[in-house]
Symmetry: C2
Subunit: 161 residues, 2 copies
Amino acid sequence: MISQTTEYALRAVVYLAQHAEESWTTKQIAAATRVPAGYLSKVLQGLSRSGLITSQRGRHGGFQLTGDPEQLTILEVVNAVEPIRRINHCPLNLGSHGDELCPLHKQLDKTIELVEQQFASTPVSALLGTEDTVEPLCEFPASANVGKGRKVDLTVSKNEG
Amino acid sequence: MISQTTEYALRAVVYLAQHAEESWTTKQIAAATRVPAGYLSKVLQGLSRSGLITSQRGRHGGFQLTGDPEQLTILEVVNAVEPIRRINHCPLNLGSHGDELCPLHKQLDKTIELVEQQFASTPVSALLGTEDTVEPLCEFPASANVGKGRKVDLTVSKNEG
């Protein structure tokens, strides 16, 4: 239903939104999101190509979220890595159907539309932890002590890759 | 979004619902649904194991839909071949989250729930052709001339496998 790539992209974006004040390396994001670094690297490339995250080279380089999590929707993240494909014409290429969908594919497209609408109406900011919820991606070296006025203590060196 | 297995299972069930009066072989259903026979065979096994379709051996053997398309939901078909998995606990196994989901996974589960609800509320009968729509899976040897009082003319021999 929700693909692994989509979930990993959302984890990475949520992590960067939670720690927007700095740049983070693939290795650090991989540790915090529990995503294999090689897989994550491809996901980050997709997000970067779409301009949702910015990569900076050099000693303090890494990835940062480009925009405001209030303005960025789940749909934009999903479409950056694995675009939602609506059913616009008969998947069986039945000539007699022309541009019209049969009830089977009309119904499936309706479901995809529903998901698309929900993703489009939900900003990334709605995925972040609040005082009333548990925090996404906590318990990790690079995030455990960041934010909320606590001291930053990185087990994974920040300027490593 | 909608996996290939799910789509293939729905095509097969729609085909059997449209031609409920007889049994159909894997080869015939494969031709009508444009699904590779090997792949379809596994899909049909799943549907059969769940009791949604019945297989009969012998000269006039093949598959038939077990129940009434009015009573059978898309969700039952989907769950027979690729069960929808709700997110019930933290996919990262974060101990501190316990049974509570963070906002990221709560939101993703909400999307899965939405799809589950839509599938549960849609009967297979809603996927069949009506006078106002194009007909699913038409243009095929095994279905082109079946129903609506027209002569049955099967290019693929019905009792073949």
